[in-house]
């Protein structure tokens, strides 16, 4: 907005005093709350020198934790992506009873404490759980092993891909797909050639956020993994272990890997938002969809 002829600023809060005060205040608090932790991580990681940093990363337990974290993500993220696509296809391309309830249930993990998720899994697969005794008889280890970590990770990230796709596919409607199938394209062909190109950035956006969360998940994994060093320790759990062992520099060295991942995620997020993915106003998937449903004539 340009200044009015009298030289007075034309919008609320545009006086230099207000503007400068607010910008300074916000940047100051932001620096303390967000930037300072970021700097501390790298300062601590390299506090004993680059050699010590490299030594921590090269340590077998740390390498194992990194490997385990990558393996968990390699399983959980693709499965979750397939689920997100299936859920979005079912919810947005068809009408069926119980649809709204399904959307709300998909969103549930987003609002549940990760510790509660971990505890809940214990009561399914643990010895005191529903399937625990049967699994123990069959000698199948779910908890305190890779399957438990993967399952808990899939629980906490279940809504991540679906919540990016559902509002977008809802807005895009069904006309293109209906045209494709009426021209004789198969379901898969329609999906690959018509739907997927339209949702690819949103899909990638969901995958990137899902991956960041899976690799960084702490609470749920901490309950179901049993924290066995060199066996069931993911990178976040390994960080806790080093930290409580008073190996602060080592803990921060491991933490700096996840911090780099977080920064890469943010850059990817910004780039994908430029492609139109991830409308910011939408933090919950249920509200917009329910609203759109309600407004349908």
């Amino acid at each position: 907005m340009s200044a009015s002829p009298s030289g007075k600023p034309s919008r609320v809060g545009d006086t230099p005093l207000v503007r400068r005060t607010l910008i300074t205040l916000v940047l100051l608090v932001g620096a303390v709350l967000v930037l300072a932790p970021l700097i501390v991580i790298f300062a601590q990681a390299f506090s004993l020198g680059v050699g010590a940093f490299a030594a921590t990363i090269a340590e077998p337990d740390t390498r194992h934790a990194i490997m385990l974290t990558v393996i968990v993500a390699l399983i959980a993220v693709p499965v979750n992506t397939a689920f997100g696509l299936a859920a979005a296809w079912a919810v947005t391309k068809f009408d069926f009873p119980g649809k709204r309830l399904l959307i709300v249930i998909i969103e549930i993990p987003f609002s549940i404490s990760p510790v509660v998720a971990g505890v809940a899994y214990l009561f399914v697969y643990g010895l005191q759980g529903v399937f625990g005794p049967a699994l123990a008889d069959a000698n199948i280890q779910i908890l305190f092993a890779l399957p438990g970590i993967v399952l808990a990770s899939m629980f906490v990230t279940a809504p991540f891909v679906a919540r990016e796709l559902i509002p977008l596919m809802q807005a895009q409607g069904r006309d293109l797909e209906e045209a494709a199938t009426s021209l004789g394209a198969s379901g898969w062909r329609t999906f690959w050639s018509v739907t997927l190109p339209n949702i690819r950035w949103a899909l990638l956006y969901g995958v990137v956020l899902c991956n960041a969360r899976v690799m960084g998940e702490f609470g749920a994994v901490s309950v179901v993994s049993g924290n066995i060093r060199g066996q069931t320790n993911t990178l976040p759990l390994h960080i806790e272990l080093l930290y409580h062992d008073y190996q602060t520099a080592g803990a921060f060295a491991a933490a700096s890997i996840l911090t780099v991942l977080a920064l890469v995620t943010i850059v990817a997020k910004v780039l994908l938002e430029r492609q139109g993915a991830g409308r910011r106003s939408r933090v919950s998937v249920a509200a917009p969809v329910l609203l759109a449903e309600g407004q349908r004539p």
Binding site: A36, F123, I239, A262, V283, S284, L291
Partner: protein
């Protein structure tokens, strides 16, 4: 009702129901079942024990303070990002998401080191008599950090779309900036602010990773409810763990309902204007 022409409903719905049932519903059902086997009297004894009630007070109280802080700071941050131009603005806008992207355990050790009595921020604060790490204030700091983006990201788009004519009308009637903000703009932003507040509060209630490092984890004073459930598990007191976790679960359901209601209202409000 439109005629259904698209294929793939059985497959897509089948996968969805299988996944939701197996990954989400089954564990939550098992938790509720486990808590249900306790019997009303035992259940009530556990969830109303002195230590549990103290943990609710610590969790809800800290979450309320953290959310109040984020309400003011988040609003100011959204305002600055939408209304002003300054160097580095895009960087600030991007870095607002850091608390979402940074693993909670990493945030936890970073905030603890920063706010410890010998930390960069902790030592000046401690010298003026405000210890942060290992006190209830530490919990507030961790919660404020992890839920920071919610209010910014819900208010930002609404503030961007706010009609300048409304402000101009206020100005032509001789209102001061502060009056126009309070009486014209704030009511329009209120639904988005409320939606952000409920998201921020819900997230703070469930936060675990960032808090356990910076909180002293002392029963009765700096022990959050999620940690108490975790401790009961480590003591092999599964029934108590189930009961306390079920309290968190019920709270999450209530917050989910409140959040969806407020978000739907916020969206309806912005779409109408």
């Amino acid at each position: 009702m439109k005629r259904r022409v698209l294929p793939g409903l059985p497959l897509a719905l089948g996968i969805t129901l299988l996944y939701v049932g197996f990954i989400v519903a089954l564990p939550l059902g098992a938790l509720i079942y486990k808590a249900g086997t306790l019997g009303l009297e035992d259940y009530w004894r556990i969830v109303s024990s002195e230590r549990a009630v103290a943990s609710y007070r610590v969790t809800a109280g800290s979450a309320a303070i953290a959310t109040a802080f984020n309400l003011v700071f988040g609003m100011a941050l959204a305002w600055v990002l939408v209304r002003y131009q300054f160097p580095g603005k895009r960087l600030v806008d991007a870095i607002v998401d850091l608390p979402f992207a940074l693993p909670t355990a990493v945030a936890g050790i970073a905030l603890t080191t920063l706010f410890a009595a010998n930390g960069w921020l902790g030592s000046p604060l401690a010298s003026i008599g405000i210890p942060v790490a290992y006190t209830p204030l530490g919990i507030v700091v961790a919660m404020a950090f992890t839920s920071l983006p919610f209010i910014v990201r819900t208010v930002q788009p609404v503030l961007e779309d706010l009609d300048p004519a409304l402000e101009e009308a206020g100005q032509s009637l001789g209102g001061s900036d502060w009056t126009i903000f309070r009486q014209v703009m704030l009511p329009l932003l209120a639904p988005a602010l409320m939606a952000g507040v409920s998201l921020s509060f819900a997230r703070s209630l469930g936060e675990f990773g960032a808090i356990i490092f910076i909180a002293g984890n002392q029963p009765m004073s700096t022990e959050i409810t999620a940690l108490l459930a975790f401790i009961r598990l480590e003591e092999y007191d599964y029934q108590a763990a189930a009961a306390i976790a079920s309290v968190l679960l019920i709270t999450a359901f209530v917050m989910l309902a409140v959040t969806n209601f407020l978000q739907a209202r916020a969206l309806r409000y912005t779409q109408r204007s």
